[in-house]
């Protein structure tokens, strides 16, 4: 559905994207994790052709790329980007915003009332946008994406300003949209939340995808324990840690259990429990842990 080939862009001396390659299919949610200023928004802007890359190309639906304006319009019929709260029209109601997106992409706004119900916006959607709180604005922005109902959606900071209830509500909607075959890119700082609905999370660093975490495949299991740097150094003198272990952000030691026999795994658990008591978990590395691994 979407193929990024050899994308590169640099602003003066800073390389933002460096020969980046990536492919995604319909029915996937791709999380994009990276600190601010590492190229998430630039990546989305290039996919939507708001920014021209220095090199490389974006291929959508196997045939469309940004060769001319006609193709750009064809791509934009398949693709929407998440509006920013500050860009909403203060003098227009939420309904007017939703009708704009629904009619521009689908030629009809019949499905708008259902979206309003789903996102629990009925009590405010007819008021002017200037009266909305941050959370209300954010829900409206998300509702606009639902109203456009395109195959590809690029959502930058989709959970900004939302409370726990609304994060759960939007997460449900994302899962439902995925089931309907949408390809959704989500850039969010709520990393644990990404684990709930993303099929993959990519980590951008120095213009490249440094890691791709796939939730749909079997993942390596780790023995995880909270450890101070002093304790970690002490432990290394007492026990020979496996070469594949990782010590994340100077607080989390992760020992891979894959490839070990059951007695070996038990021995490691006993050793760690003996040393550090109850501070121990077993499981794959989550988005937060990978994030800390690459950016701390």
């Amino acid at each position: 559905m979407l193929k990024l080939s050899d994308l590169s862009i640099a602003y003066q001396d800073k390389i933002v994207l460096d020969h980046l390659n990536f492919t995604a299919e319909k029915g996937e949610i791709i999380g994009v994790a990276a600190p601010n200023g590492t190229g998430k928004t630039t990546l989305f802007n290039i996919i939507a052709n708001y920014t021209k890359p220095d090199s490389g190309r974006v291929l959508i639906d196997g045939k469309y790329t940004y060769r001319n304006e006609k193709e750009e319009v064809l791509i934009h019929k398949l693709l929407t980007t998440f509006p920013e709260q500050k860009d909403l029209f203060d003098e227009l109601s939420g309904t007017a915003h939703l009708n704009l997106y629904a009619s521009m992409w689908n030629g009809s706004s019949k499905h708008v009332p259902a979206i309003i119900d789903k996102l629990q916006m009925t009590h405010y959607v007819k008021k002017k946008a200037k009266t909305y709180s941050l959370g209300m604005r954010q829900r409206l922005c998300f509702a606009m994406m639902m109203a456009a109902d395109t195959t590809v959606m690029l959502m930058d900071e989709v959970m900004n300003g939302l409370d726990v209830t609304n994060v759960a509500l939007i997460s449900d909607c994302l899962l439902e949209m995925k089931r309907k075959g949408k390809l959704i890119f989500v850039a969010s700082h709520l990393l644990e939340n990404l684990d709930l609905y993303a099929d993959r999370v990519i980590f951008l660093k120095e213009g490249k995808i440094v890691h791709e975490q796939r939730f749909t495949e079997d993942r390596d299991i780790y023995l995880k324990v909270e450890l101070t740097p002093v304790s970690y150094d002490e432990l290394k003198t007492k026990i020979e840690l496996p070469p594949a272990h990782v010590y994340i952000a100077e607080h989390l030691l992760c020992i891979p259990l894959d490839g070990l026999t059951l007695p070996e795994q038990t021995r490691w658990i006993e050793q760690i429990l003996g040393q550090f008591g109850h501070h121990l978990t077993v499981g794959p590395l989550g988005t937060v842990e990978y994030y800390e691994k690459y950016y701390s």
Partner: protein
């Protein structure tokens, strides 16, 4: 999609308070300007004929006696005598509407004699009293119109039919251009201020531009027509409607022709339409360079003022004539042609220039859009 986009843009336009204020200014201009216009001392046909008659005392006084001794001199003197007689008869006919035909017949003969004098070199006549060829042709055009159409030869200058073309001539030129530029200045505003909402709409740039220009053009014309309507009703209530078939002089290809007021007003409106379109397209193009609506308006106003500034500085600005023609009132009346001493400054040339310049600007916008998709040669290899 495009229709939905136009509907949305129209909704945004209706929310634009600045444009409503400008619209009210346009509408109010027509009744308010009448307060000043009605105080103007407009020379009537009777006044004009009285002045012409009085001038003959001086003309005969200044005519060299010795010239009358030659055959040529005697012919000129006879010509002048006949002219004086015809003018006095015209003054008499003006008192009776029934004598319109006689007035016209004498008027045509009078101007024939004036032209004969021009052919004879106006010998013996003081230069101050020579009736210019332009004035003669203007009068012939009016007389021919009166002869062809049975309309009053002494219309009240303060009735609605006479006021509306005068008001349109007054608002035309720089004031109208400024209003159009100010109304159009917000055309791209929400595309810039609400970028992330508007950016990805599946509509091409040119479709967006034409939709915006179209609805702004519509709005300007609604204001203009409303102003004309309200102004006409106001004046009609004060002095009467007048006759919209009464003649107005129109300059065309070096000649003056008399056309009906309706014809003249329609020409004015057509010119206003083309000027508005040209200015709106120009403001999109300039805004694309400046990215600032104030800079856009100021740049275009400066361009429009440039020919007058250069002319007053004594610099040849003939190549900027198309911009002078924005003052369509001066073009239609022939004033611009006389000022710049060229017969090509008539309404046909003006309208052609407006269409031509608009096409050029649209072509530039089209090419600019096309060029955005040309790959950068330095990275062409990696684009494929």
């Amino acid at each position: 999609m495009r229709w939905n986009y136009i509907l949305f843009e129209t909704k945004m336009l209706l929310h634009n308070r600045k444009n409503w204020l400008l619209g009210i200014a346009i509408i109010l201009f027509f009744p308010i300007y009448y307060l000043q216009y009605s105080q103007t001392d407009i020379e009537t046909l009777r006044d004009q004929k009285n002045i012409e008659a009085e001038q003959f005392h001086s003309i005969f006084k200044a005519f060299p006696e010795e010239m009358r001794e030659t055959k040529e001199g005697q012919n000129i003197y006879d010509n002048l005598t006949e002219q004086a007689s015809l003018i006095n008869m015209q003054r008499f006919y003006l008192w009776d509407e029934e004598e319109n035909a006689s007035y016209i017949k004498d008027g045509l003969r009078l101007n024939e004699l004036r032209l004969e004098l021009h052919e004879a070199g106006n010998k013996g006549i003081h230069p101050n009293y020579i009736f210019s060829k332009e004035e003669i042709h203007k009068e012939i055009a009016l007389l021919n119109y009166y002869q062809k159409h049975s309309v009053s030869i002494t219309p009240d200058p303060f009735v609605a039919s006479n006021y509306i073309p005068a008001a349109l001539d007054t608002i035309g030129g720089l004031p109208f251009s400024l209003l159009v530029l100010l109304i159009g200045s917000s055309m791209l505003l929400h595309d810039q201020q609400n970028r992330s909402v508007m950016n990805g709409l599946p509509v091409s740039f040119l479709q967006k531009m034409f939709s915006k220009v179209g609805i702004h053009l519509g709005q300007i014309f609604v204001f203009l027509v409303a102003g004309i309507g309200i102004g006409s009703v106001y004046v009609a209530m004060k002095t009467g409607w007048g006759s919209f078939t009464s003649p107005v002089l129109l300059y065309s290809s070096g000649n003056f022709t008399a056309v009906s007021t309706v014809h003249y007003v329609l020409l004015q409106l057509l010119a206003f339409l083309l000027i508005s379109f040209l200015l709106l397209v120009a403001s999109i193009l300039v805004n694309d360079l400046t990215k600032n609506m104030y800079a856009t308006v100021l740049s275009i106003v400066f361009l429009l003022l440039l020919p007058s500034l250069l002319l007053s500085a004594g610099i040849d600005a003939s190549w900027l004539r198309p911009l002078v023609m924005i003052d369509i009132g001066a073009v239609l009346s022939g004033e611009a042609a006389l000022r710049f001493e060229t017969a090509s400054m008539d309404y046909q040339h003006a309208l052609s220039w407006f269409v031509g310049l608009s096409l050029v600007m649209m072509a530039v916008l089209y090419m600019k859009t096309k060029l955005q998709y040309f790959p950068n040669p330095s990275v062409r290899g990696s684009q494929n």
